[in-house]
Symmetry: C2
Subunit: 217 residues, 2 copies
Protein backbone atom coordinates (compact mmCIF):
# COMPACT_ATOMS: atom_id res chain seq x y z
CA UNK A 1 0.00 0.00 0.00
CA UNK A 2 1.29 3.40 -0.91
CA UNK A 3 0.84 5.53 2.13
CA UNK A 4 -0.78 8.89 1.73
CA UNK A 5 1.14 11.79 3.14
CA UNK A 6 -1.11 12.01 6.14
CA UNK A 7 -0.80 8.31 6.85
CA UNK A 8 2.90 8.70 6.49
CA UNK A 9 3.01 11.51 8.99
CA UNK A 10 0.68 9.60 11.25
CA UNK A 11 3.14 6.77 11.39
CA UNK A 12 5.89 9.28 11.97
CA UNK A 13 4.01 10.56 14.97
CA UNK A 14 3.49 7.04 16.20
CA UNK A 15 7.22 6.48 16.15
CA UNK A 16 7.93 9.82 17.77
CA UNK A 17 5.61 9.12 20.63
CA UNK A 18 6.89 5.64 21.16
CA UNK A 19 10.41 7.00 21.13
CA UNK A 20 9.44 9.69 23.61
CA UNK A 21 8.27 7.09 26.08
CA UNK A 22 11.38 4.99 25.74
CA UNK A 23 13.79 7.92 25.82
CA UNK A 24 12.02 9.28 28.89
CA UNK A 25 12.43 6.02 30.68
CA UNK A 26 15.91 5.00 29.61
CA UNK A 27 17.56 8.19 28.50
CA UNK A 28 19.13 8.78 25.12
CA UNK A 29 22.23 6.69 25.62
CA UNK A 30 20.35 3.92 27.39
CA UNK A 31 17.85 3.55 24.61
CA UNK A 32 18.52 1.24 21.71
CA UNK A 33 16.67 1.46 18.47
CA UNK A 34 15.26 -2.03 18.92
CA UNK A 35 13.44 -0.84 22.05
CA UNK A 36 11.78 1.93 20.16
CA UNK A 37 10.80 -0.37 17.35
CA UNK A 38 9.27 -2.76 19.81
CA UNK A 39 7.45 -0.01 21.67
CA UNK A 40 6.05 1.23 18.37
CA UNK A 41 5.22 -2.30 17.31
CA UNK A 42 7.26 -2.12 14.11
CA UNK A 43 10.56 -3.39 12.77
CA UNK A 44 13.80 -1.59 13.47
CA UNK A 45 14.46 -0.95 9.82
CA UNK A 46 11.17 0.88 9.46
CA UNK A 47 12.33 3.63 11.76
CA UNK A 48 14.99 4.46 9.25
CA UNK A 49 12.33 4.97 6.62
CA UNK A 50 11.17 7.95 8.63
CA UNK A 51 14.30 9.23 10.34
CA UNK A 52 17.89 9.63 9.31
CA UNK A 53 19.45 8.51 12.54
CA UNK A 54 18.92 8.03 16.22
CA UNK A 55 19.87 11.62 16.87
CA UNK A 56 17.56 12.83 14.18
CA UNK A 57 14.71 10.95 15.80
CA UNK A 58 15.63 12.33 19.18
CA UNK A 59 15.55 15.82 17.81
CA UNK A 60 12.13 15.15 16.29
CA UNK A 61 10.92 14.04 19.70
CA UNK A 62 12.32 17.24 21.12
CA UNK A 63 10.44 19.37 18.62
CA UNK A 64 7.25 17.48 19.24
CA UNK A 65 7.71 17.94 22.96
CA UNK A 66 8.25 21.68 22.83
CA UNK A 67 5.26 22.04 20.60
CA UNK A 68 3.05 20.22 23.06
CA UNK A 69 4.34 22.27 25.94
CA UNK A 70 4.00 25.60 24.22
CA UNK A 71 0.50 24.96 23.05
CA UNK A 72 -0.44 23.91 26.57
CA UNK A 73 0.71 27.26 27.86
CA UNK A 74 -0.98 29.14 25.05
CA UNK A 75 -4.27 27.47 25.77
CA UNK A 76 -3.97 28.10 29.49
CA UNK A 77 -3.36 31.76 29.01
CA UNK A 78 -6.00 32.40 26.41
CA UNK A 79 -8.62 30.61 28.48
CA UNK A 80 -7.89 32.43 31.69
CA UNK A 81 -9.96 35.37 32.82
CA UNK A 82 -9.90 37.66 35.84
CA UNK A 83 -7.29 40.03 37.16
CA UNK A 84 -3.67 39.80 36.14
CA UNK A 85 -2.85 38.40 39.58
CA UNK A 86 -5.38 35.66 39.21
CA UNK A 87 -4.30 34.77 35.72
CA UNK A 88 -0.68 34.67 36.77
CA UNK A 89 -1.54 32.45 39.68
CA UNK A 90 -3.61 30.10 37.56
CA UNK A 91 -1.09 29.83 34.77
CA UNK A 92 1.58 29.00 37.29
CA UNK A 93 -0.50 26.29 38.85
CA UNK A 94 -1.47 24.68 35.61
CA UNK A 95 2.11 24.57 34.41
CA UNK A 96 3.35 23.00 37.60
CA UNK A 97 0.50 20.53 37.50
CA UNK A 98 1.34 19.67 33.92
CA UNK A 99 4.96 19.12 34.86
CA UNK A 100 3.96 16.90 37.74
CA UNK A 101 1.41 14.98 35.71
CA UNK A 102 3.72 14.01 32.96
CA UNK A 103 6.59 13.11 35.16
CA UNK A 104 8.09 11.01 32.41
CA UNK A 105 8.07 14.05 30.28
CA UNK A 106 10.06 15.98 32.78
CA UNK A 107 12.78 13.40 32.70
CA UNK A 108 12.74 13.86 28.95
CA UNK A 109 13.48 17.53 29.47
CA UNK A 110 16.56 16.60 31.37
CA UNK A 111 17.72 14.47 28.50
CA UNK A 112 17.18 17.38 26.16
CA UNK A 113 19.19 19.65 28.38
CA UNK A 114 21.98 17.16 28.34
CA UNK A 115 21.74 16.90 24.58
CA UNK A 116 22.31 20.60 24.33
CA UNK A 117 25.65 20.11 26.04
CA UNK A 118 27.17 17.29 24.19
CA UNK A 119 25.22 15.82 21.34
CA UNK A 120 26.33 16.30 17.77
CA UNK A 121 23.33 18.52 17.32
CA UNK A 122 23.83 20.63 20.41
CA UNK A 123 23.49 23.86 18.54
CA UNK A 124 20.17 22.91 17.05
CA UNK A 125 18.97 21.95 20.49
CA UNK A 126 20.18 25.15 22.00
CA UNK A 127 18.52 27.22 19.33
CA UNK A 128 15.14 25.62 19.92
CA UNK A 129 15.48 25.89 23.67
CA UNK A 130 16.33 29.54 23.41
CA UNK A 131 13.23 30.10 21.36
CA UNK A 132 11.00 28.17 23.73
CA UNK A 133 12.19 30.05 26.76
CA UNK A 134 11.74 33.32 24.91
CA UNK A 135 8.20 32.36 24.01
CA UNK A 136 7.37 31.55 27.57
CA UNK A 137 8.93 34.72 28.86
CA UNK A 138 6.98 36.68 26.31
CA UNK A 139 3.71 35.14 27.39
CA UNK A 140 4.33 35.88 31.04
CA UNK A 141 5.79 39.32 30.62
CA UNK A 142 2.83 40.35 28.50
CA UNK A 143 0.60 39.27 31.32
CA UNK A 144 2.56 41.31 33.81
CA UNK A 145 2.70 44.33 31.58
CA UNK A 146 -1.03 44.10 31.26
CA UNK A 147 -1.32 44.14 35.04
CA UNK A 148 0.82 47.23 35.20
CA UNK A 149 -1.20 49.01 32.58
CA UNK A 150 -4.36 48.28 34.43
CA UNK A 151 -2.79 49.84 37.48
CA UNK A 152 -2.98 46.57 39.27
CA UNK A 153 0.77 46.16 39.60
CA UNK A 154 3.47 48.64 40.58
CA UNK A 155 4.80 50.43 37.52
CA UNK A 156 8.40 50.03 38.58
CA UNK A 157 8.74 46.28 38.28
CA UNK A 158 10.54 44.94 35.26
CA UNK A 159 8.17 42.55 33.50
CA UNK A 160 10.94 40.80 31.60
CA UNK A 161 12.97 40.00 34.68
CA UNK A 162 10.04 38.77 36.62
CA UNK A 163 8.86 36.66 33.74
CA UNK A 164 12.29 35.09 33.43
CA UNK A 165 12.32 34.22 37.10
CA UNK A 166 8.87 32.71 36.98
CA UNK A 167 9.79 30.58 34.02
CA UNK A 168 13.01 29.63 35.72
CA UNK A 169 11.40 28.75 38.99
CA UNK A 170 9.01 26.34 37.30
CA UNK A 171 11.95 24.41 36.01
CA UNK A 172 13.72 24.73 39.29
CA UNK A 173 10.77 23.58 41.37
CA UNK A 174 10.06 20.60 39.18
CA UNK A 175 13.71 19.74 39.38
CA UNK A 176 13.60 19.67 43.13
CA UNK A 177 10.44 17.61 43.05
CA UNK A 178 12.12 15.20 40.69
CA UNK A 179 14.80 14.47 43.20
CA UNK A 180 12.64 14.49 46.27
CA UNK A 181 9.21 12.90 46.09
CA UNK A 182 8.34 14.50 49.40
CA UNK A 183 8.80 17.94 47.93
CA UNK A 184 5.53 19.52 46.86
CA UNK A 185 6.09 21.99 44.06
CA UNK A 186 2.45 22.95 43.84
CA UNK A 187 1.96 24.29 47.32
CA UNK A 188 5.42 25.79 47.16
CA UNK A 189 4.49 27.63 44.01
CA UNK A 190 1.25 28.79 45.58
CA UNK A 191 2.91 30.17 48.66
CA UNK A 192 5.50 31.84 46.58
CA UNK A 193 3.09 33.43 44.16
CA UNK A 194 1.28 35.08 47.00
CA UNK A 195 4.52 36.75 48.09
CA UNK A 196 5.16 37.84 44.55
CA UNK A 197 1.71 39.26 44.15
CA UNK A 198 2.09 41.23 47.33
CA UNK A 199 5.33 42.62 46.04
CA UNK A 200 3.68 43.49 42.78
CA UNK A 201 0.63 45.30 44.09
CA UNK A 202 0.51 48.91 43.05
CA UNK A 203 -1.06 49.83 46.34
CA UNK A 204 -0.20 47.30 48.99
CA UNK A 205 -2.68 48.55 51.55
CA UNK A 206 -5.68 47.85 49.39
CA UNK A 207 -6.73 44.61 47.84
CA UNK A 208 -7.18 46.02 44.38
CA UNK A 209 -7.75 49.40 42.83
CA UNK A 210 -7.39 51.44 39.70
CA UNK A 211 -5.39 54.39 40.93
CA UNK A 212 -2.94 55.11 38.15
CA UNK A 213 0.47 56.28 39.01
CA UNK A 214 1.67 54.36 36.01
CA UNK A 215 3.58 55.77 33.12
CA UNK A 216 4.19 54.10 29.78
CA UNK A 217 1.38 53.04 27.47
Amino acid sequence: MVLQNDQKSQKRDLIIQAAARVFAQKGFAGTIMADIAEEAGIGKGTIYEYFESKEDLFFAVFEWFTQELTSLAMVSVSTLGGTASERLMTLGESLVKAGMGMEDMFSLSMEFWAASVSSQMKNRFKEVFKQVYMDFRRIISALIRDGIERGEFRPDVDPESLAAVLVGSWDGLLLQAWFDPAFDPLSTARNFMSVIIKGLRANPSQERQGKTEHRKG
Copy 2:
Protein backbone atom coordinates in the same frame (compact mmCIF):
# COMPACT_ATOMS: atom_id res chain seq x y z
CA MET B 1 57.41 3.31 44.91
CA VAL B 2 54.63 2.76 47.36
CA LEU B 3 52.45 5.81 47.56
CA GLN B 4 51.36 7.18 50.89
CA ASN B 5 47.64 7.55 51.43
CA ASP B 6 47.71 11.28 50.90
CA GLN B 7 49.67 10.94 47.68
CA LYS B 8 47.19 8.35 46.65
CA SER B 9 44.22 10.61 47.29
CA GLN B 10 46.04 13.47 45.63
CA LYS B 11 46.27 11.48 42.46
CA ARG B 12 42.67 10.52 42.83
CA ASP B 13 41.78 14.20 42.93
CA LEU B 14 43.96 14.83 39.93
CA ILE B 15 42.00 12.29 37.97
CA ILE B 16 38.67 13.61 39.22
CA GLN B 17 39.46 17.10 38.14
CA ALA B 18 40.76 16.08 34.78
CA ALA B 19 37.65 13.99 34.30
CA ALA B 20 35.46 16.92 35.34
CA ARG B 21 36.94 19.06 32.59
CA VAL B 22 36.50 16.42 29.95
CA PHE B 23 33.00 15.43 31.02
CA ALA B 24 31.98 19.08 31.11
CA GLN B 25 33.16 19.57 27.58
CA LYS B 26 32.09 16.36 25.94
CA GLY B 27 29.37 15.01 28.18
CA PHE B 28 29.34 11.59 29.75
CA ALA B 29 28.58 9.61 26.63
CA GLY B 30 30.90 11.64 24.47
CA THR B 31 33.85 11.13 26.76
CA ILE B 32 36.12 8.15 26.33
CA MET B 33 38.44 6.98 29.03
CA ALA B 34 41.45 7.62 26.84
CA ASP B 35 40.57 11.32 26.79
CA ILE B 36 40.54 11.48 30.54
CA ALA B 37 43.81 9.63 30.81
CA GLU B 38 45.39 12.04 28.37
CA GLU B 39 43.98 15.09 30.15
CA ALA B 40 45.34 13.76 33.43
CA GLY B 41 48.65 12.88 31.81
CA ILE B 42 48.50 9.23 32.84
CA GLY B 43 47.79 5.87 31.28
CA LYS B 44 44.30 4.59 30.82
CA GLY B 45 44.88 1.57 32.97
CA THR B 46 45.85 3.77 35.89
CA ILE B 47 42.37 5.21 36.09
CA TYR B 48 41.11 1.75 36.87
CA GLU B 49 43.49 1.59 39.80
CA TYR B 50 41.47 4.35 41.38
CA PHE B 51 37.97 3.85 40.06
CA GLU B 52 35.86 0.80 39.35
CA SER B 53 34.36 2.01 36.15
CA LYS B 54 33.53 5.02 34.03
CA GLU B 55 30.30 5.49 35.93
CA ASP B 56 32.05 5.21 39.24
CA LEU B 57 34.45 7.94 38.19
CA PHE B 58 31.59 10.08 37.00
CA PHE B 59 29.89 9.72 40.34
CA ALA B 60 33.09 10.69 42.11
CA VAL B 61 33.22 13.82 39.97
CA PHE B 62 29.65 14.51 40.97
CA GLU B 63 30.43 14.23 44.66
CA TRP B 64 33.43 16.47 44.30
CA PHE B 65 31.32 18.99 42.44
CA THR B 66 28.55 19.17 45.01
CA GLN B 67 31.09 19.56 47.73
CA GLU B 68 32.68 22.53 46.00
CA LEU B 69 29.32 24.12 45.41
CA THR B 70 28.02 23.65 48.90
CA SER B 71 31.10 24.99 50.53
CA LEU B 72 30.94 28.02 48.27
CA ALA B 73 27.45 28.75 49.53
CA MET B 74 28.43 28.13 53.13
CA VAL B 75 31.29 30.56 52.92
CA SER B 76 29.16 33.20 51.23
CA VAL B 77 26.53 33.04 53.91
CA SER B 78 28.83 33.01 56.86
CA THR B 79 30.74 36.00 55.52
CA LEU B 80 27.72 38.13 54.83
CA GLY B 81 26.64 40.86 57.21
CA GLY B 82 23.81 43.36 57.26
CA THR B 83 20.07 42.99 57.19
CA ALA B 84 18.40 39.82 56.08
CA SER B 85 17.38 41.56 52.85
CA GLU B 86 20.92 42.53 52.10
CA ARG B 87 22.28 39.12 52.91
CA LEU B 88 19.66 37.47 50.74
CA MET B 89 20.46 39.81 47.91
CA THR B 90 24.19 39.25 48.21
CA LEU B 91 23.97 35.50 48.47
CA GLY B 92 21.80 35.44 45.39
CA GLU B 93 24.25 37.51 43.42
CA SER B 94 27.27 35.54 44.40
CA LEU B 95 25.61 32.27 43.49
CA VAL B 96 24.56 33.52 40.09
CA LYS B 97 28.01 34.92 39.53
CA ALA B 98 29.55 31.61 40.49
CA GLY B 99 27.27 29.81 38.09
CA MET B 100 28.16 32.19 35.31
CA GLY B 101 31.86 32.07 36.05
CA MET B 102 32.18 28.36 35.86
CA GLU B 103 30.11 27.90 32.79
CA ASP B 104 31.72 24.56 32.10
CA MET B 105 30.63 23.53 35.49
CA PHE B 106 27.06 24.38 34.72
CA SER B 107 27.09 22.10 31.75
CA LEU B 108 28.37 19.44 34.10
CA SER B 109 25.27 19.95 36.20
CA MET B 110 23.15 19.16 33.23
CA GLU B 111 25.02 15.95 32.73
CA PHE B 112 24.41 15.07 36.34
CA TRP B 113 20.74 15.75 35.98
CA ALA B 114 20.65 13.45 33.02
CA ALA B 115 22.55 10.82 34.95
CA SER B 116 19.84 10.85 37.56
CA VAL B 117 17.36 9.82 34.89
CA SER B 118 19.07 6.99 33.18
CA SER B 119 22.43 5.94 34.50
CA GLN B 120 22.83 2.66 36.32
CA MET B 121 23.45 4.66 39.42
CA LYS B 122 20.50 6.97 39.07
CA ASN B 123 19.33 6.37 42.59
CA ARG B 124 22.66 7.30 44.06
CA PHE B 125 22.63 10.47 42.00
CA LYS B 126 19.11 11.31 43.03
CA GLU B 127 19.91 10.79 46.67
CA VAL B 128 22.83 13.18 46.58
CA PHE B 129 20.88 15.75 44.63
CA LYS B 130 18.05 15.58 47.09
CA GLN B 131 20.46 16.23 49.90
CA VAL B 132 22.16 19.12 48.14
CA TYR B 133 18.90 20.86 47.39
CA MET B 134 17.78 20.34 50.97
CA ASP B 135 21.00 21.87 52.24
CA PHE B 136 20.57 24.90 50.06
CA ARG B 137 16.96 25.33 51.04
CA ARG B 138 17.92 25.07 54.65
CA ILE B 139 20.54 27.78 54.33
CA ILE B 140 18.14 30.15 52.63
CA SER B 141 15.13 29.45 54.75
CA ALA B 142 17.17 30.02 57.89
CA LEU B 143 18.10 33.40 56.51
CA ILE B 144 14.49 34.24 55.83
CA ARG B 145 13.33 33.02 59.20
CA ASP B 146 15.94 35.23 60.74
CA GLY B 147 14.50 38.18 58.84
CA ILE B 148 11.05 37.40 60.12
CA GLU B 149 12.23 37.12 63.68
CA ARG B 150 13.91 40.47 63.47
CA GLY B 151 10.63 41.92 62.29
CA GLU B 152 12.19 42.79 59.00
CA PHE B 153 9.96 40.47 57.00
CA ARG B 154 6.25 39.80 57.14
CA PRO B 155 5.52 36.98 59.52
CA ASP B 156 3.09 35.30 57.17
CA VAL B 157 5.49 34.21 54.44
CA ASP B 158 6.50 30.60 54.39
CA PRO B 159 10.30 30.51 54.58
CA GLU B 160 10.53 27.00 53.17
CA SER B 161 8.51 27.77 50.08
CA LEU B 162 10.33 30.94 49.33
CA ALA B 163 13.68 29.28 49.85
CA ALA B 164 12.72 26.52 47.44
CA VAL B 165 11.75 29.04 44.81
CA LEU B 166 14.94 31.00 45.21
CA VAL B 167 17.02 27.88 44.87
CA GLY B 168 14.93 26.83 41.91
CA SER B 169 15.17 30.14 40.18
CA TRP B 170 18.94 30.11 40.32
CA ASP B 171 18.93 26.90 38.40
CA GLY B 172 16.25 28.19 36.11
CA LEU B 173 17.98 31.46 35.39
CA LEU B 174 21.31 29.86 34.66
CA LEU B 175 19.53 27.43 32.42
CA GLN B 176 18.07 30.25 30.38
CA ALA B 177 21.42 31.93 30.23
CA TRP B 178 22.96 28.71 29.04
CA PHE B 179 20.72 28.68 26.02
CA ASP B 180 20.77 32.35 25.30
CA PRO B 181 24.05 34.22 25.64
CA ALA B 182 22.14 37.49 25.40
CA PHE B 183 20.21 36.66 28.54
CA ASP B 184 21.66 38.29 31.63
CA PRO B 185 20.82 36.27 34.71
CA LEU B 186 22.55 38.67 37.05
CA SER B 187 20.51 41.77 36.36
CA THR B 188 17.44 39.59 36.10
CA ALA B 189 18.10 38.22 39.54
CA ARG B 190 18.69 41.70 40.89
CA ASN B 191 15.47 43.08 39.54
CA PHE B 192 13.61 40.11 40.79
CA MET B 193 15.06 40.20 44.27
CA SER B 194 13.89 43.74 44.71
CA VAL B 195 10.33 42.65 43.96
CA ILE B 196 10.71 39.81 46.40
CA ILE B 197 12.06 42.05 49.09
CA LYS B 198 9.19 44.44 48.66
CA GLY B 199 6.80 41.55 48.99
CA LEU B 200 8.60 40.44 52.09
CA ARG B 201 8.75 43.69 53.99
CA ALA B 202 6.89 43.62 57.26
CA ASN B 203 5.88 47.23 56.79
CA PRO B 204 5.93 48.15 53.12
CA SER B 205 5.51 51.88 53.62
CA GLN B 206 8.82 52.28 55.41
CA GLU B 207 12.23 51.39 54.12
CA ARG B 208 13.27 49.48 57.17
CA GLN B 209 12.24 49.41 60.76
CA GLY B 210 12.26 47.36 63.91
CA LYS B 211 8.62 47.58 64.82
CA THR B 212 7.71 44.11 65.98
CA GLU B 213 4.41 42.74 65.02
CA HIS B 214 6.10 39.41 64.88
CA ARG B 215 5.15 36.40 66.91
CA LYS B 216 7.30 33.35 67.45
CA GLY B 217 10.66 33.54 69.19
